[in-house]
């Protein structure tokens, strides 16, 4: 029962482009239509799949799978090197479509966004009708198909958009939310990854209805804070607002090597390459961070991260490089000598002024009025004739 004391019901749309990168490539190269298209690196390299068309997915290919494995699954697949600038361009066009309906747009990635359409610019009371219109607008503008989920919070909208892919629209209303949630596998909950899922399975919780039966104390005991979150989610509770301006919290870059490398000049050179990429990204962002994180994945896929937080913001590249090399030396030479490295990554976070909301208000001061009173107060009387 929704009483008048409860918060007004929000209307949230989660919009997800169907096989975005692959669809853009097919749109730009129509001859690829109907073929299994894989966007990613070369199948002979160790890179992973960024996106796969639906035809490719039929062979079991999915994102994040090594390209070599994709080739094994489907030898005739067309491999295309990703063109991120092009995807960004189209993503911006789609974002413009969203803004025509509401300003409350929270982009998740290039191909995904949440929209709060409770109060929308076209005064349409039906969110599903709006979702239909947005999908149509995107198709007309870009020729690409998308899937939409409509519900009363972000979590349910996201789950809904996954329900009828591709080119789908699925609505979870407050009335049928609980029923729906009881049927979903707990794997679908945001935040439930491999580890959490394993532990849930050990507790014999695999589906929504099983999770629903657990008390919040029980879940908190086994999963800490996240237990509370799951307890809420399975009851369809998610109060996170759609944030239209989300601040970037970190910048990172990583690289998987063609062949695994031992600590030495070659690894140091790879680190230098990452450093120059990282400093470029930081410069583009225009912010200074205080924390540098080094990520190392070894040949046996074990992963280690080391972070250094300085009192001051890193404002020169030399300092960043010194710290990164120092940490690389500590990990690869001292802690794990003779262990080959598969991947290294670098990230900077803890940006200046991160917690503050950008305040565009400017409190004016009295001083200009004291120092140059003529300019501001009596300019009309003091104007000199132009000679």
């Amino acid at each position: 029962m929704i009483s008048s004391f409860q918060k007004p019901v929000r209307k949230i749309i989660h919009l997800d482009m169907d096989a975005f990168f692959a669809s853009v490539e097919i749109k730009d190269n129509p001859e690829l239509k109907g073929l299994p298209v894989v966007v990613g690196g070369s199948p002979t390299s160790r890179s992973v799949v960024c996106a796969a068309s639906y035809q490719a997915r039929e062979f079991g290919i999915h994102s994040a799978m090594p390209c070599s494995k994709a080739r094994q699954l489907c030898p005739e697949a067309v491999f295309i090197f990703p063109r991120f600038e092009r995807y960004q361009e189209i993503s911006l066009m789609i974002h413009e479509v969203f803004l025509g309906y509401t300003d409350l747009v929270e982009p998740v990635s290039l191909d995904e966004a949440w929209l709060d359409v409770t109060n929308n610019k076209v005064n349409c009371p039906s969110a599903s009708l709006l979702a239909e219109k947005i999908k149509e607008d995107i198709r007309l503008l870009t020729g690409l198909s998308s899937s939409a989920g409509v519900s009363y919070n972000k979590f349910l909208a996201k789950i809904a958009s996954d329900e009828k892919k591709p080119d789908g629209l699925f609505v979870i209303s407050p009335k049928n939310a609980l029923q729906f949630l009881k049927t979903i596998p707990v794997k679908k909950l945001p935040g439930v990854g491999k580890v959490t899922f394993e532990r849930l399975r050990e507790l014999k919780i695999e589906f929504g209805y099983q999770l629903f039966e657990q008390s919040s104390e029980f879940l908190r005991q086994h999963f800490g804070k996240f237990g509370n979150v799951m307890h809420d989610l399975i009851r369809g509770i998610d109060d996170r607002p759609v944030m239209s301006h989300r601040e970037r919290k970190s910048v990172g870059i990583e690289n998987t090597f063609e062949t695994d490398i031992l600590y030495g000049n070659e690894l140091k050179a790879e680190l230098n390459r990452l450093l120059s990429g990282l400093t470029r990204r930081i410069a583009k962002l225009g912010k200074k961070g205080r924390t540098l994180t080094l990520k190392i994945k070894f040949m046996d896929f074990t992963q280690i991260t080391r972070s250094v937080t300085d009192d001051k913001f890193f404002d020169n590249d030399v300092l960043l490089a010194t710290i990164a090399h120092q940490k690389l030396f500590e990990v690869c030479q001292k802690e794990f000598p003779f262990k080959k490295v598969r991947l290294i990554g670098l990230g900077v976070s803890n940006f200046e002024g991160q917690k503050k909301i950008r305040n565009e208000n400017i409190q004016l001061e009295i001083f200009p009025f004291i120092i140059q009173p003529e300019n501001l107060f009596t300019s009309l009387h003091l104007q000199k004739p132009v000679i």
């Binding site: 909301i357 208000n361 409190q363 004016l364 009025f369 009173p373 107060f377």
Partner: protein
């Protein structure tokens, strides 16, 4: 020394000096109060921190004349706890002090009174006799706007400026606001332009509240003195030039509205509650025919608005103001019986002036906040 003094009198005296007597200092003597019997019927109480100095004569029954120094805060805290109305203070030649209240006996170590710094009040030319309420009002009306930023020393005090031989202009200012008052005094041929430190104003106000009568003030370039009946006080001045604010003060904008002050304060307080304290909370005033719309900034932590009726007729105008500064400026008028406040505006980037009919010469000037919403 041996004296009897009433608890009320001693407490009142100690309250006047408790902040002057420093608590933490490398020089223990100045966190002590100096007692000396005078004229066989008075106790002279002195305190100093070199910037501010105080000397007052208080009624006491003198049994044996003498003098002593005692830790001020220790004595003050003790006396406040005492239950009997009479306090007896006796000293020994070794500077031990016995304090007796009813059946309670306390013994405290004192300090050799000759170590206490000499406080000399100057006989300055042309002292001015003035009602204490006049100075108190001026402090009350300007205090909030006086600066606290160490990098602008000349704004860290109250400016007292004889703009005419019988007219004092009182001004307080920080980077964002000014308060300005003009009062007339009896007599003639007065002159001077000084800055009294904000910290000293708190001590001065206490004296003015204690001595609710005419008093005498005098000053030179370095010090400001008050002679209030049995009390004498002096403070060092801020030796700097106060900026000339005449232009900004006389820059009354053409747009004027009259509005109920209490209603405006209420609205602002509500909007202030919504805002995040980390940010400078800003209200946007939109003035149109017959009404003022007050809006908070629309941020994640909420938003709000309110409408107050006013007498305005003319083009619509919007201006942003820091809510805290606005409230400070409006609440100064709490002591006025005038229910209305006059707000004068030129445009969204020029100073805003607040005044009312009752207080004639007094005005507060606020700089607006430039907003893009």
């Amino acid at each position: 020394m041996e004296i009897n003094i009433k608890k009320d009198i001693l407490i009142e005296a100690l309250q006047l000096i408790i902040n002057i007597s420093h608590k933490s200092t490398t020089e223990p003597i100045i966190n002590h109060v100096f007692f000396e019997t005078f004229d066989n019927r008075l106790l002279t109480i002195k305190a100093t921190n070199y910037d501010n100095s105080f000397s007052g004569d208080f009624e006491a029954e003198i049994i044996n004349p003498g003098k002593i120094c005692l830790n001020t805060s220790k004595l003050y805290n003790l006396v406040r706890e005492f239950s009997d109305s009479k306090i007896q203070i006796k000293t020994t030649p070794q500077n031990w002090v016995f304090i007796i209240n009813g059946n309670t006996k306390i013994m405290l170590p004192g300090i050799e009174p000759d170590q206490f710094p000499l406080i000399d009040f100057l006989e300055l030319d042309n002292p001015l006799n003035i009602p204490s309420s006049l100075i108190k009002d001026s402090i009350d009306r300007t205090f909030f706007s006086i600066g606290e930023n160490e990098s602008r020393r000349n704004l860290m005090g109250l400016n007292l400026h004889f703009i005419k031989p019988n007219q004092i202009c009182w001004q307080g200012a920080d980077a964002f606001r000014i308060s300005h008052d003009i009062t007339e005094v009896k007599g003639e041929n007065y002159q001077g332009n000084i800055i009294i430190p904000k910290k000293s104003l708190i001590e001065i106000k206490k004296i003015l509240e204690y001595h609710n009568n005419d008093l005498q003030i005098s000053f030179n370039e370095n010090i400001f003195q008050i002679n209030a009946g049995n009390i004498r006080f002096k403070t060092r001045l801020i030796e700097a030039a106060f900026p000339n604010l005449e232009n900004i003060i006389n820059s009354e904008g053409p747009i004027g509205i009259k509005i109920n002050r209490k209603e405006l304060i209420n609205s602002l307080k509500i909007l202030y509650r919504i805002s995040d304290d980390d940010l400078n909370s800003v209200v946007k005033l939109t003035i149109s025919n017959g009404k003022v719309l007050l809006e908070s900034q629309k941020l994640e932590f909420g938003e709000g608005n309110d409408v107050i009726l006013c007498d305005y007729e003319g083009e619509e105008i919007s201006i942003g103001v820091n809510i805290k500064f606005f409230l400070d400026g409006l609440q100064v008028f709490d002591n006025s019986s005038d229910k209305q406040i006059n707000i004068k505006i030129k445009d969204s980037l020029s100073p805003i002036i607040l005044k009312n009919e009752e207080w004639g010469n007094y005005k507060t000037i606020l700089m607006p906040v430039k907003i893009k919403w």
